[in-house]
Symmetry: C2
Subunit: 452 residues, 2 copies
């Protein structure tokens, strides 16, 4: 038996790992956080645009994100509302139209059907328990088909299909053909439904953190204590024995703890050799948890010219690659910013391409949506999450059909003395920073209980 360096070794310094570590420190136990990157924050990341900090990753805060709101409040960092005054734009079947409210202007039948299917999906999601979606009534049937297959079966109008495709891409950074219907419903349920997820006011895009969301991970790291963090330390293996866990860091160093918390996306689990091997169902789940595909882009203009024309900056397209778009102007800035995403197939088309090519495609979409003024940007920045080695994609891990029913029960199950965190394992706001915080809390509770 060897001695212990700490009570708990946490792998991963995103919001999940940091929150777990902060909880463990607060409980009077010792902790060390090991992180592959040279920075904290995981899937949040700061960038610079026209001299201001922008979020290249996670950005928005919803009114239900109570842990995230409390973290900002604790550090006296104010939230600012997402700008949403004015009309929205939709590029649909070759024409750009203006609309108000949640659902775009569509032919009447398409409008009625969109409304009906959204209500139906809300009802279906409400019947799912996030803690055990595989036990829901009809779970097997819902997990046999893709969202695309379900929509094909249940929608008649092209308009409603286009709307649902747009919504799914925006929420999951994936095509409707990539994910299981049961997974979609479970994910929606964890955030209170579809409407909150695609809404600004009252929804997941309601607020931003002044100065960017990323710096909150720095504050959380301060709470943990900088001396307890080891950056630039990829973990190569985890060994367990009767007493504890040895976490091997690339380069040869090893840390020994009584317990470990793994707070990395499941898609990266196989990078970490395990002795004894990870349980087969955990490995199978990791093989079946691909990350979403997204490139986040910000474009700066001399002024937020769309506001002067009564537009909110919010826009979606059924064909152009850059969708959805939001007003990303920092409060108090003189310049204007449009922020948005290349998602699913669009992200896969543009990953690995030169940034100039991406920029051109993004500006072309904005020009199509907002007119020639959008063709005169003063700055541009983007981040290709598909190329981030230590995320493997964003926003979150996805589940294709059959994964949730066959492997879901392995999601939060510890492997011996190793506990699992990460937004994918969250019961609330899965896929969001709030979910990451919640999962860290839960994993810390598990580890602390085991220590006592």
């Amino acid at each position: 038996m060897q001695g212990f360096d700490v009570d708990v070794v946490v792998v991963g310094a995103g919001f999940a790992g940091l929150n777990a570590a902060a909880r463990i420190v607060a409980a009077g136990r010792s902790v060390c956080v090991v992180e592959a990157r040279d920075r904290v924050g995981g899937r949040t990341k700061p960038g610079t645009l026209s001299g201001h900090v922008v979020d290249l990753g996670g950005q928005w805060v919803g009114p239900d994100h109570r842990r995230l709101i409390a973290l900002a409040a604790r550090h006296r960092i104010p939230l600012e509302p997402q700008f949403e005054a004015g009309g929205k734009l939709i590029d649909y079947r070759g024409r750009v139209r203006r609309y108000e409210g949640l659902i775009p202007a569509l032919p009447l039948l398409a409008l009625l059907e969109t409304d009906r299917v959204m209500k139906r999906i809300e009802r279906m999601a409400a019947a799912i328990a996030v803690s055990a979606p595989w036990a829901a009534a009809g779970a097997a049937d819902l997990d046999r088909i893709t969202v695309a297959g379900w929509l094909d079966r249940n929608l008649r109008t092209k308009g409603a299909k286009a709307m649902m495709d747009i919504a799914v891409r925006a929420v999951f950074s994936a095509e409707p053909s990539e994910i299981s219907m049961l997974f979609l419903l479970t994910y929606l349920r964890a955030s209170g439904g579809l409407e909150p997820l695609i809404s600004v006011r009252g929804g997941a895009q309601q607020d931003r953190v002044k100065g960017g969301l990323h710096p909150l991970s720095e504050r959380l790291a301060d709470e943990v204590g900088r001396g307890r963090l080891r950056l630039s330390s990829p973990v190569s293996g985890i060994e367990q024995d009767g007493d504890g866990v040895t976490v091997h860091v690339s380069g040869g160093e090893a840390l020994r703890g009584r317990r470990a918390i793994l707070a990395v996306p499941l898609a990266l689990l196989s990078r970490i050799g395990a002795q004894p091997a990870w349980p087969a169902l955990k490995t199978g789940l990791a093989q079946r948890s691909p990350m979403g595909s997204v490139i986040k882009c910000h474009v700066a203009y001399e002024t937020p010219f769309w506001r002067a024309r009564g537009l909110s900056g919010e826009a979606v397209s059924d064909a152009a690659p850059f969708s959805p778009v939001f007003d990303g102007t920092p409060e108090g800035a003189r310049h204007g910013v449009l922020s948005g995403f290349l998602e699913g197939d669009a992200a896969r088309t543009f990953t690995g391409k030169p940034p100039a090519e991406r920029r051109q495609a993004v500006i072309a979409t904005l020009t199509r949506l907002f007119g020639p003024e959008a063709g005169q940007p003063i700055d541009y920045v983007d981040n290709d999450w598909l190329e981030e080695e230590w995320s493997g994609g964003c926003y979150a891990g996805l589940m294709a059909p059959a994964t949730m029913t066959s492997y879901g029960p392995a999601l939060r199950t510890p492997a011996g003395r190793v506990h699992f965190a990460g937004t994918e394992t969250a019961l609330e706001a899965t896929g969001y920073v709030e979910g990451a915080l919640e999962s860290g809390e839960r994993a810390a509770t598990e580890a602390l209980r085991a220590l006592s």
Copy 2:
């Protein structure tokens, strides 16, 4: 610039890697094969049952498997026919029935529909080019849905649904809900259709290798040259520069080659750190290539008692976990063997369980199918491929919807100086040992061309 240890470093000593290495040696170039396991053979593996060698992994040889047949002939190892004389059994809706031919005895409507849907699937598969299935007519639609979703839409009778479920499980070691319809068609196309894949005579189960298929990998390793093999050497990273490739082996050693061939399942790609990082579409594909789920089991009896009753030993079930079953009796043996599989959900139910529990479930199925004599085995052996760290499952990597159209073009694309082999990348007999051999040939050709 450093010197080179060899022209080509091959990672993985399954049939794909060994065949690539043999080709490179035959071309007068130098090679080194690095293998994580302490043995060659990959997804083939020898076991012992009643004093005879049995295949715990890949086992059968079809008449189209010309490379595999040539390899056996080269080493004067005879093939023996899979025993198939007599009636077959189907356990369907609670009753065990006997039948002859390819399609079991079913109610007339179910029989007609099974015949019709199989012919339809054969026609659909025939329209696919294996080299670029994503370019086939209707590819996007076929890749939007699972096989389960397609069957639900296109079948009315319970009997035909049960038959297709049984066939899909047997061919893919997966549930129909796990895989994309386009993937299924492509896989069938690479082996000439569905009927050859589920047939004994004239199909993929026609022959076995006397003494087991696994030893052929030993002969192939002899062809490569034992001095060129490094067993028990997991690869931790691959670095590329302007001149060549450095393959880092766990423990610190490194091998330098002008080119490398990676002949491991894509599901294991993320275990191998890369500098520069793997291209994003390769990583995305690797995240979306889960391995099938299968536990292979052999049961020995005093005699092949089913033969005396005019049964071939072939049996399937729509409910019991152990299906399909074949006569696995070695030619010339006095005892009898029934060999079969726990596949898909059944494999996931029994992985991690004590072998005695698996044995009990297997014997119970056999007793249900073949009567009380099946309850008196004299020996039992199984292999849980879900727990094999260096395979991650079997028989092969699978694709859920949207994977083939979004990531398929990355399948065989080299990453700089690294080429990709493995049965998943094969254009012929994908998923089989024959496909592994073909993929090794193709990767060797690529590497040799680049060297010349």
